[in-house]
Symmetry: C2
Subunit: 572 residues, 2 copies
């Protein structure tokens, strides 16, 4: 639990003996404890709420004229790296939308830069209006079936645990390891006994779920159906409903939001691209849709505030209450939930819908780029053989994939991409150690007619993933992102059509999110210009290598049958 | 949070690869997470639940034939000393009634024996079927307006905090100190930042409540009205509904048990005498009455289980779920809630309503008796003066008292007890240091017609409290309990009519609770034989010296006006 230390000056304001710094008068406070709306004034002293009620005097008085005051939102699980910007730029995207606390798992940069990467995320998120709490990444690397740039062992995690903003153990994705009782996984869990431990158990039910829960994880954000979510809730898991760019579970899980679930569910964005963050929003958009679906607004707000605070032991926030952080959102009504003002720790950061400037000091230097690509001449060549091949099937807006069997298109003794059949070549090029290792496969559902896409954002190992209609375009794309120290590229033959540079770990840009978003739009448009039918082909690409999400994935070591949890041959 | 370490053998049972020690078949499980009833089998391995569902095999199978299985009850706040027996004997009273976990504040013995007393309680409660967690006593002594046998400073509390069964800071009764921002109180709270901190703020509302909550306490068990409880709940306090022998709040607070409160309320017994524990029960009786009042049985059970577990961070219990302790209650129906079987950590302790024997090893030696009474010849003499006197007014079944003004009955220049007017003399005789200090006052509501009662159970300082109709009986009573090393006595003139010896700290007996109860009944009967109209005059007596509960109390230093928080003169 994080509790703010008692503060005698705050108490003097609370009991009415000293004037507040700021008093909000005439507002309607959303009370997530009682489930009701209170017409009370709010006294603020420094970064904290001193008291609620009548009779407070303050140096500054804000008249709210019946507007509603909500606690700041908490994003219960987010990989900030997926915003493609650094934490301080991420804050500029989410704070104006009312997210004042993010619980982040920095396992993307941890897979590239290890402890140094996590420390960079902690340093870069110091003293922002957004409070960033870190869950120590439990699965770096995610499995033994990919090559990552670093690993975090139990002692690394124990070192991290001593940082004041590290609250628990991040999503234990190695669910087969937990269920099987693997010693290394249980050791990491044991090191975080007494702290929140996030789970990640897609589709795990029945006895497997019993074993997973008995092993220690306490939450899950991978539910895709109400049945799955309710079984997990019954077994004691806290449910984090996720609405990521490429894994949208809110619509499917809306029907569970009644009764007990209103106290056992929180909200998270997991992975969101710059366009989604800027156009659609994050937690705010989820709360709005939950209210639109008929859930009582106070209950909906609780999902995004108190429930997450309680799960993570963040006793200093999550409600408008004495002693808690003055993280507050002002809205005119609870239906549109249009955000008028946002206050972070007593400082106003949004006024009348307009984001105010805030100083956030010098950004720390990121780790030196990690980009060692050795691409052999025939790196993408797949010699033909007898038989059928396994094909990864991308599913729009989901991170799960299908696994299908097809007869390959063969020419000159080689398996070729065949855009007519929507069969593209996919490769995972190891980029951390210059090993020259390349995993090869075929994918359906990206929809390129020609050219190639490559990206160093490739959960969780973040090798270079490339999908293409021909080997030349694929090579051009890999070389383009390698030269940039990481990024996303669209190529046709020898030409780079569009490039977004992501030099921080090959994952993030230090530029403002609005600029990154413009470049992101241009790579997406270029990919669509080459025929991709996906609204976000790069988000889809980035999960095709994640060997802990069913069913078929690719890493530098080859194709992974996730259900069997082993490397399988391209050929059936 | 307390989390059991992951256990590979448990996981093997959970996933169905190894047989369970015990499988409960055909039961209906009360699921406090979902709020429903599940028809599932339960597999147990060692002291923990491995899994729920069909298909488990086990060395032993228990057919439940549709009986209901509940998690073991958690008493969220209890002073075990008030049972007048040691923790291991207390366990024999409450475990058969389904209480499998007690969160105790040992501040009674701490006021007598300090850290040594707390360590005795921890040692005596080691390895029982009942798990005893300790909250470190925050207010020893309760105030500066009484003399106790010991004090616990911040460093003492920090030492205690390292014990694995010490979970947080016990009721911060010095609410004026918190509200005023007193440095020593805030220091103790700061030492427990991030852990549960129990509050105690009778009648505190408005700005005072804001300051109290901002100061750190997170719960309250002193609410006597729904309005008070709901205001505290709105400000973020967890509400512990108390049904103690002498402070019964359940009836008054029943109407709050709907909506949010079903997730923000737990149950506690605080202080219960042996007859109440044995005849009426504890948490079980509260749950029964809550169900009888119309609350859904699963919600009622949650109040007594999961809610307390979550508040205290006891993640290893509070629900029938994988990995949690196999603390389980079997009942045939959820209306009568008649307890058929109880299992503690996988061991059966009640079978078919019959308590089984359990071994609990050798009882540790208690601290040497602390009983130094120097009673001067005219210790109880009150010289007459002009004017009226303050009189403590005992309120049946409440620990609050009234404060009234009366003209004294005077004879030979002395204020005399006057049973005709129900005015008795009351004295608090310092017993820890042999100082000879005696606080004197008058009390109404005990109802003795003659003789005297004395007891060394006198919250929280535990000096000798004596009430009598004449000074000789009072002296006899004080001397009787002093000789016994502590206890309760009823006297008439020079005769001891009944005596219960309590040599452990002057608070507890090491005898079985059934024997202590018999002696308790005899002292109560003797007191009633002398005219007392109270059903439990000794419980009433024991709170007349508690100078943190309004309105007028007595300590060895004199009369305390609790609202003004100062010593006042007997004479107005």
């Amino acid at each position: 639990m994080r509790t703010a230390p008692p503060d005698a000056d705050l108490l003097a304001v609370a009991r009415g003996d000293a004037p507040a710094d700021l008093v909000f008068r005439g507002g309607r406070v959303v009370n997530v404890f009682s489930g009701g709306i209170e017409q009370v004034d709010i006294a603020v002293r420094g970064d904290r709420i001193a008291g609620l009620g009548a009779g407070y005097e303050g140096a500054e008085i804000r008249e709210l004229d019946g507007a509603f005051v909500l606690p700041g939102f908490i994003d219960a699980h987010v990989h900030i790296e997926s915003s493609l910007v650094t934490p301080r730029e991420f804050a500029r995207a989410v704070v104006p939308r009312g997210t004042t606390t993010a619980v982040t798992d920095p396992h993307e940069i941890a897979n590239v830069h290890g402890l140094e990467g996590v420390r960079y995320m902690l340093d870069d998120s110091e003293a922002l209006p957004l409070t960033v709490f870190v869950m120590a990444s439990s699965c770096v690397p995610a499995t033994h079936m990919s090559t990552s740039g670093a690993s975090l062992g139990r002692s690394d995690l124990e070192a991290l645990a001593r940082h004041p903003r590290v609250v628990g153990l991040a999503e234990v994705m190695n669910f087969p390891g937990v269920i099987a009782g693997a010693e290394d996984v249980l050791g990491k869990i044991e090191a975080f006994a007494g702290r929140p431990i996030d789970g990640h158990a897609p589709g795990v039910v029945g006895m497997g779920l019993n074993a997973y829960v008995a092993g220690g994880p306490q939450s899950d954000h991978e539910c895709t159906t109400v049945d799955e979510a309710c079984e997990k809730l019954r077994r004691g898991l806290f449910i984090l409903i996720r609405e990521a760019t490429n894994a949208r579970n809110l619509d499917a899980l809306l029907p569970m939001l009644e009764g007990s679930a209103l106290w056992r569910v929180a909200l998270c964005t997991d992975d969101r691209t710059p366009p989604d963050l800027l156009d659609e929003g994050g937690i705010d958009a989820m709360v709005r849709r939950i209210i639109a679906a008929g859930v009582d607004p106070v209950d909906a707000v609780r999902l995004a505030t108190l429930n997450a605070a309680e799960f993570f032991g963040l006793d200093d926030r999550g409600a408008i209450a004495p002693g808690r952080r003055a993280d507050m959102i002002v809205v005119d009504d609870l239906e549109s939930l249009t955000i008028r003002d946002v206050w972070c720790g007593g400082e106003q950061v949004v006024s009348g819908g307009r984001t105010l400037e805030w100083a956030s000091g010098d950004s720390p230097a990121p780790p030196a780029p990690a980009m060692q690509v050795e691409l052999h001449k025939s790196a993408f060549r797949i010699p033909a053989r007898e038989g059928d091949i396994r094909v990864i099937e991308a599913v729009p807006d989901q991170i799960v994939t299908g696994s299908v069997t097809e007869s390959p298109s063969v020419s000159d003794g080689e398996v070729m991409a065949d855009p007519e059949r929507d069969l593209l070549k996919i490769a995972a090029v190891e980029r951390h150690r210059g090993s020259g290792r390349v995993g090869l496969g075929m994918v359906r559902g990206i929809g390129l007619r020609r050219g190639a896409l490559a990206g160093t954002v490739a959960h969780d190992h973040h090798n270079v993933l490339v999908v293409g209609a021909d080997d030349v375009s694929m090579r051009t794309a890999v070389e383009a992102v390698a030269r940039a120290g990481g990024g996303l590229a669209v190529t046709l033959g020898g030409d780079v059509l569009a490039l977004l540079e992501l030099p921080v770990g090959g994952l993030m840009s230090r530029s403002p999110i609005a600029e990154v978003r413009r470049d992101y739009d241009s790579v997406v448009a270029a990919a669509q210009g080459l025929g991709s039918t996906l609204h976000d082909p790069f988000m889809a690409l980035s999960f095709l290598g994640l060997e802990v999400i069913p069913a078929l994935k690719i890493t530098d070591m080859g194709l992974v049958d996730v259900d069997a949890f082993r490397i399988v041959d391209l050929w059936v």
